[in-house]
């Protein structure tokens, strides 16, 4: 039997200190490689997408239609709170119409795309991972392959495509409701006349701001759906594995969204 001495314990702890981060980094790159390979396969076989049009429409309903209430609810309050806080932070001598400008700019450029993405990372991302993860542990994905189906084209492509198509639409609805919410918050709480708010909104509005928000939503839609599909496909074990993968999806999707938010702002603005 190996004798445990203080020196050997110290040695093993020191080794572990270097080994653990190294293993984590390796695992990260292993997953990144598999994720990229899945995306590559999806793009390579994209021509098959029309064969699964039924699945795509079903996913568009699931991701888009079913998310409208929560997106509108969040957007409404984001608009209202932005208006109230902007009004609170402005000096008295600054024209009140600036609130309209601030709300419009903030909502279009940042708040609606980002908060919609974070909310949907939880709602849509978790749903997709739990669904595909359950299919994995109950061998439904194996069954698809045994029936000579390509599970990536059948399960992942429709979800990612639906995310890429529906996220921008949700964000456009979200933008409209957030601005209306801002208008309501500004007039009802901060006492700013609707005309002043609209003047500010008109003076600051630039088409590029709205386009930028839509581009962000498209990218976020891709990230959230692809990460959640990948996580679902990688599930191992039983229900515990599904739960762990679902949690990983929400964390990873949120982190990826905020990092990509910064990158897009740096590159496109």
């Amino acid at each position: 039997m190996t004798e445990t001495t203080p020196e050997s314990t110290l040695l093993s702890r020191t080794g572990e200190l270097f080994f653990r981060p190294g293993k984590t980094i390796l695992t990260f790159f292993e997953h990144l490689g598999r994720y990229m390979s899945t995306i590559g396969w999806m793009i390579y076989n994209f021509r098959n997408a029309k064969e699964y049009s039924g699945n795509i429409i079903q996913q568009m309903v699931m991701i888009g239609n079913n998310s409208i209430p929560i997106v509108l609810f969040v957007s409404m309050f984001v608009g209202m709170v932005t208006a109230v806080q902007s009004s609170y932070q402005l000096y008295a001598w600054i024209p009140r119409s600036v609130v309209g400008a601030l709300v419009t700019k903030s909502v279009l450029l940042e708040l609606t795309p980002l908060l919609t993405a974070l909310v949907l990372a939880g709602k849509v991302g978790a749903t997709i991972t739990a669904e595909l993860g359950t299919m994995r542990v109950t061998e439904q994905i194996d069954a698809l392959e045994a029936l000579a189906f390509d599970p990536i084209s059948f399960l992942i492509t429709p979800r990612v495509l639906a995310g890429v198509l529906m996220f921008p639409i949700l964000v456009v609805f979200g933008d409209l409701v957030a601005i209306l919410g801002g208008m309501f918050g500004a007039s009802a709480i901060a006492g700013i006349p609707v005309e002043a708010f609209v003047d500010g909104m008109k003076s600051s509005f630039e088409t590029w701001d709205a386009i930028f928000g839509i581009i962000k939503a498209t990218v976020f839609g891709f990230i959230i759906t692809s990460v959640s599909c990948y996580q679902g496909f990688q599930v191992q074990g039983g229900s515990e594995g599904v739960g762990k993968a679902t949690m990983n999806t929400v964390v990873l999707a949120c982190l990826s969204v905020v990092v990509m938010d910064f990158i897009l702002a740096s590159v496109l603005l």
């Binding site: 064969e51 109950t138 061998e139 439904q140 069954a143 392959e145 045994a146 029936l147 000579a148 189906f149």
Partner: protein, 243 residues
């Protein structure tokens, strides 16, 4: 014919297969018997390319599975029907949609032909008028039958059964065993049945292979198995006598 030669497979630190050799002859039902979690189901998945062995060769009708392109592998899978342990029915689809899925994707059948084909497959497994039901609303035995109907919808040459009677009561399990025999007669399929239930094995099998510690320790007929002096084989026979 299916031939496995010197198959080695490791999952993490666990060596699951240590040079597995097996031959499945045309039109026979070969039963693989072994303890749960030993790697029997992995062998079935390797045969249709769902899992790759670390080394060794798997030949199906003279073709090496590992060297097939993705398209060729898809075509090879048409030859197989696979009954999964938990039936693996698609729970977002009805029974009918589960069975017609592959028919719609891989054949040029018209709607009426597909409907007729689904009914035919269901009749073969002794089910009728269940097309509209969801998998969550049917019993375990019915799920296995639907899984079987789905597996035979494309009239496969080979049937792979992964623990077909596990989790079923004796009566339902006997029903599934009878179905396996009937399908062999009706469709003339070559079958591989993986099970740890020696009673079911003897009902459906022509030949038997005992899988222990990552290898086949014995292959033979019912009499060969029953008369084997090998203690590793005897433990399965004795478990049958006890039941």
């Amino acid at each position: 014919m299916i031939q496995l030669t010197n198959i080695w497979k490791k999952f993490g630190e666990k060596q699951v297969h240590n040079g597995v050799n097996l031959e499945v002859r045309d039109n026979e039902t070969l039963v693989i018997i072994g303890r749960s979690g030993g790697g029997k189901s992995v062998l079935l998945k390797m045969i249709i390319g769902l899992i790759k062995p670390d080394s060794g060769s798997i030949m199906v009708d003279g073709k090496e599975v590992a060297s097939l392109t993705y398209k060729q592998l898809q075509r090879l899978r048409f030859k197989f029907g696979f009954l999964f342990q938990g039936a693996a029915l698609f729970d977002s689809m009805t029974v009918g949609q589960n069975i017609e899925l592959a028919l719609r994707r891989h054949t040029d059948y018209k709607d009426a032909d597909i409907t007729e084909r689904v009914k035919f497959a269901l009749r073969l497994v002794k089910l009728e008028n269940v097309e509209h039901l969801m998998p969550s609303n049917i019993s375990g035995g019915m799920k296995k039958r639907v899984g079987l109907a789905r597996a035979i919808a494309l009239t496969p040459k080979y049937m792979l059964y992964d623990e077909p009677t596990t989790g079923l009561d004796v009566e339902t399990a006997d029903g599934i065993n009878l179905l396996i025999n009937e399908l062999k007669t009706t469709l003339g399929v070559t079958s591989i049945v993986v099970t740890h239930d020696i009673h079911s094995a003897f009902v459906v099998g022509d030949r038997f292979a005992i899988f222990e510690n990552g290898q086949f320790i014995m292959t033979g007929t019912k009499d060969d198995i029953r008369n084997s002096p090998n203690p590793e084989v005897r433990k399965y026979i004795e478990s049958d006598i006890q039941t």
